[in-house]
């Protein structure tokens, strides 16, 4: 679905990483590991096409979802408005009420993002994964700020996605909670 070869990037004059290759096939999950500042987020952004690598290239054969560590919510946006906006942008006719319910966002669905907790904002961002069927998910520290229940929901989403032939590349700091096909350590 995606393969990257010999990626390398500079930050200023410092080599953040080089010679990184990885690929992911349907049903697989690749976990990116590394200490803080090792470049996990940067690698994920290169895979998503947001950051241009100094060396190497990325071959993308599938569309992807992006869940960054910044959620992409506007302070005045409610979870419902956010999902509606992206459903329209992506031409999706998903049932937004059902998605809100599944992510435990029914109650705060009309609350502006600036009043939501960090966990609720993260759930709203993760709900985008259900708006549109996309084969590849790129997740940057997806468990951040989630409570135990939210974590279980996300794990179920990932398991479901992989079972139906999807793939995941995730930067994760602690315990992944799912069986990784491969780990890439920076």
């Amino acid at each position: 679905m995606l393969s990257a070869t010999n990626l390398g990037i500079l930050r200023g004059e410092r080599v953040l990483f080089e010679g990184v290759s990885l690929s992911v096939a349907p049903g697989e999950a690749v976990v990116l590991r590394g200490a803080n500042g090792a470049g996990k987020t940067t690698l994920l952004r290169i895979l998503a096409g947001l950051t241009r690598p100094e060396a190497g290239h990325v071959d993308r054969q599938a569309t992807h979802h992006w869940i960054g560590h910044r959620e992409g919510l506007k302070p005045h946006e409610t979870p419902r408005a956010h999902l509606k906006l992206w459903a329209q942008a992506w031409g999706s006719d998903a049932d937004i009420d059902a998605i809100l319910g599944e992510m435990g966002l029914s109650r705060p669905s009309e609350v502006a993002a600036r009043y939501l907790s960090a966990g609720q904002r993260r759930r709203t961002a993760l709900a985008r994964l259900m708006l549109d069927q996309r084969p590849l998910w790129l997740l940057d520290e997806p468990f951040t700020a989630l409570d135990a229940e939210g974590r279980e929901q996300l794990l179920a989403l990932v398991a479901n996605h992989r079972q139906s032939g999807g793939a995941v590349i995730a930067a994760i700091h602690g315990d992944a909670g799912f069986a990784a096909s491969r780990e890439v350590t920076l």
Binding site: L10, R11, G12, E13, R14, V15
Partner: protein
Amino acid sequence: MGMLSAFANPHRFLALSSWLAPLFYTVGGALIAWGVWQGLWVVPKDDYQGGDIMRVMFIHVPAAWLAMASYSAMAAASFIWFIWRHELADIAAKAIAPLGATWTALCLATGSIWGKPTWGTWWQWDDARMMSVLFLFFLFLGYMALRAAMDSRQKAARAGAILAMVGALNVPLIKFSVDMFTSLHQDASVITADGPKMAAVYLWPLMMSGLGHSLLFGALVMTLMRAEIWTRRAARQRARLLAGA
């Protein structure tokens, strides 16, 4: 082409500029000195151009030429960097900016000094050329401020290149719009359709002074580029040492 590719390679650039820059400093300095001597003591004053004050022309005109030429050079270097990502092109654009701004300011200052006795005012809002040069000065300042605000040299290069190209795209329009103001300034008189019509007695010192300023400018650009190349090498070395430690 051979010359250009020599400039595109940092090693060859360092080798070339190590003797070319001193040569430019020497010849440029001599020509400027000769032009100033001619301008101040030898050529007769021209009462139609304000009397003795017209002698400032031997600095003002070269400065005006360099103001325009340096912005064009900076935009060209930015374009080359944007398309081919030659690091040396970015180093050149970065080096040209403060020097271009300096000569642009020099052009404004000498224009103002020339303007006071001839127009009766330090600043003539109706003069299209002074206004154009002023906006060129702002374009240089914006370019330098933007580069300085970026947090890595790669980002500074990209942001600077985008802005320099946007600026270059707008310069003709800015010039055209400013020209719609009426002008009190004399028309361009060095080069016209039927060749230079300015008296030869002024023309030679002016041409030599212009060449001298251009050589000095080129030498300073080379010096700043050499400094930048060594700075980047030092930063790379430091990063390598830190990574090894």
